[in-house]
């Protein structure tokens, strides 16, 4: 995989002409319908969801899992606790409201959703039936961002953080690697009200890093510093944390010290961590696989502005324009959401 595409994006045709286009590795799309037997490494995040939920039921937690035709990932749960999974067919809004009914009966309900057909399609059900009612529903949004980018604009899920942030009472968490998937599911289990769990695409080859060697315990509303540094702070979310760690390693060779923060909680937002980063490094680069409107960058910029922190900020996100359609291994380099793309933005911000 190459990650040196030009930011202007004329690259694909040029590279095709040069015979260097379309990387054949790192183009994986997660098969969200696949069962637990599909143990392909890049799809492992879904398996972690399935095994974690089954383990929770084994441990006696009063949980159910529901989905709109997305039960492939919870084969273990269905085998060991068949009464605790309900499929509603391809009927997302009914699934979301039924999850609220289960939760109103004292059960913590997990909704397995496909990125764009969870919070984007069901925003009103989520606001009205889960959030206003303070109910313990956990929405696990698989294949968020550009993870299903090959399927078309319908399958881009790049507005979800903006929607979720504006819903009162919503907690938003995004795991940065497979250990964090289990960590987020377990750490949010006792949270009051609904939790939106944003699952990224598997990281591309060359952008992979171990963020959490073991299953972490997260504290509600707290960022995690995953690599201390002194020159510039990168606040990243989801799979972009891994890419940022690789970028930090690249820049270290140039004598640049990146402070990398995992924005594992997007709401409540860790304002004190932003204040601290503004104070110590003075420069903050946010990185997310989301529209530049309303996501992590917007949230951090609001804090910097409202609290008059005077820090330099750059928001690295997807442009607010019609996005391209391709495999993630093509799309992420196209939009420069790669380690070297992040390193470039960091250098530019350091020179500003």
């Amino acid at each position: 995989m190459t990650d040196t595409t030009s930011p202007t994006g004329s690259g694909l045709a040029d590279r095709a002409a040069e015979g260097t286009a379309l990387p054949k590795t790192g183009t994986t799309m997660e098969n969200v319908f696949s069962g637990d037997e599909a143990k392909k490494a890049p799809a492992a995040a879904g398996n972690v969801v399935g095994s974690t939920l089954a383990a929770l039921a084994d441990e006696g937690h009063d949980i159910v899992v529901v989905s709109a035709d997305m039960g492939g990932a919870v084969g273990e749960l269905r085998a060991r606790h068949p009464g605790r999974y309900f499929d509603f067919g391809i009927a997302e809004t009914n699934t979301m409201s039924a999850a609220a009914g289960l939760a109103a009966s004292g059960i913590t309900s997990f909704v397995l959703a496909m990125g764009p057909f969870g919070i984007l399609k069901c925003a009103e059900q989520i606001r009205t039936d889960l959030a206003s009612t303070h109910l313990p529903v956990r929405i696990i949004a698989r294949s968020s961002g550009l993870a299903m980018g090959f399927f078309g604009t319908s399958h881009h899920a790049v507005e979800d953080i903006a929607i979720a942030r504006s819903i009162t009472g919503m907690t938003i968490a995004a795991p940065a690697d497979n250990n964090a998937v289990e960590g987020v599911i377990r750490s949010t289990l006792d949270h009051r009200g609904p939790v939106y769990i944003r699952m990224s695409a598997p990281s591309l080859p060359g952008a992979e890093a171990v963020v959490y060697p073991e299953v972490p315990v997260f504290e509600r509303g707290k960022f995690v510093t995953v690599r201390p540094g002194s020159d510039l702070t990168v606040i990243a979310v989801g799979n972009m944390v891994q890419a940022s760690l690789v970028a930090a390693e690249q820049l270290a060779g140039e004598g640049i010290s990146l402070n990398v923060i995992d924005a594992v909680y997007l709401k409540p937002l860790d304002e004190e961590a932003i204040v601290a980063a503004a104070g110590t490094t003075g420069r903050i680069l946010t990185v997310e696989e989301h529209n530049e409107v309303g996501g992590l960058g917007s949230a951090v910029a609001e804090v910097i502005a409202r609290r008059r922190l005077g820090a330099a900020i750059d928001v690295f996100a997807l442009p607010d324009e019609d996005l391209k359609v391709a495999l993630p291994g093509v799309l992420l380099p196209y939009y420069n959401l790669t380690p070297s793309g992040i390193a470039d933005r960091a250098r530019t911000l350091l020179e500003a």
């Binding site: 009464g83 409201s97 039924a98 009966s105 004292g106 206003s132």
Partner: protein, 298 residues
């Protein structure tokens, strides 16, 4: 208002204890209760200065029979885990529930005096966070049958024998989500789920037959696997018999299509049901409506 009491000696009703399902209440009392619900609706809406009359009136007998005969309740503990659940899909008629809840003791009667004020826990559409006795919030039409499917499934998970009742409007059935829920109710054979359609023939914008036809309702629910009863929803005796007939161990959810009249019980509203979907009944109109209702109380 006559006190509702248990006529059956083998199932005495003691305040603070469980009100059993299908408890004995005289038909006269149930009919009177429905009229009292109408009078209280007029009073509360007047206090607030705005509200939904005609679609509350079509459901007055349904409310009366459910809360004074059918539902298993424990007024001293509105969240009692074995209670029958009730969801009001057409949430805009919650004003008809508040006098019942105060009367049953879900909350103090004084709360009724707060209706319409900014901090009142009892609101135009019901809010489960603020109002004891509300099993689920509503306001956005089309959601509550789905929620009820979830509550009914939870009863199965927890091996509870409670029933979940939902009142929907007929206009509400134009929402696509309702049919997703109907499909799920049939698929899972939720015999502990009862949908009651307050089929008063109108939505906010006009006759449902003209805005968007939803008939044949009975056939439609039956085709989704539901046990269907189509009845006169303004007759308390029929409602009692219909709810009593719901099988304890069935394999199908039940849909009761209650044919009602929007504005039922007040002539000026029966003649102009749309005009009184929302409004404020005042002066001689209010006096005339109250005389008409009072004249029917026995």
């Amino acid at each position: 208002m006559t006190t509702v009491h248990a006529a059956s000696s083998d199932r005495p009703v003691v305040t603070g204890e469980v009100l059993p399902r299908g408890r004995s209440t005289s038909l006269v009392d149930l009919a009177n209760r429905a009229e009292w619900i109408r009078l209280e609706t007029i009073r509360l809406i007047d206090q607030a200065g705005f509200g939904h009359y005609s679609s509350t009136f079509s459901a007055a007998e349904i409310f009366s029979v459910l809360y004074y005969h059918t539902l298993r309740l424990k007024p001293s503990d509105p969240q009692w885990e074995d209670r029958d659940r009730f969801l009001l899909g057409k949430g805009h008629i919650a004003v008809g529930l508040w006098p019942i809840f105060a009367d049953l003791g879900f909350f103090p009667k004084e709360w009724l005096d707060t209706y319409g004020s900014i901090d009142s826990p009892i609101t135009d559409h019901p809010n489960m966070v603020t109002a004891p006795g509300i099993d689920f919030s509503s306001g956005s039409l089309g959601h509550n049958l789905s929620v009820a499917v979830g509550i009914a499934l939870a009863g199965r998970v927890h091996e509870k024998d409670y029933r979940t009742f939902v009142v929907t409007g007929d206009g509400e059935l134009q929402e696509g989500q309702v049919w997703e829920a109907a499909m799920a109710g049939g698929h899972y054979g939720l015999s502990n789920l009862v949908a009651i359609v307050d089929a008063n023939g109108f939505s906010g914008g006009g006759a449902t037959s003209k805005t968007m036809n939803i008939e044949p309702l009975a056939d439609r629910f039956a085709s989704f696997g539901w046990r269907v009863e189509e009845i006169n929803g303004s007759d308390v005796a029929t409602l009692v018999e219909t709810f009593d007939r719901i099988p304890a161990d069935g394999t199908q959810p039940t849909c009761v299509i209650a044919r009602t009249h929007k504005g039922a019980g007040v002539t000026l509203m029966e003649e102009a049901p749309q005009a009184w979907h929302m409004g404020w009944l005042k002066g001689e109109d209010r006096a005339q409506a109250e005389r008409e209702i009072n004249a029917r109380i026995r």
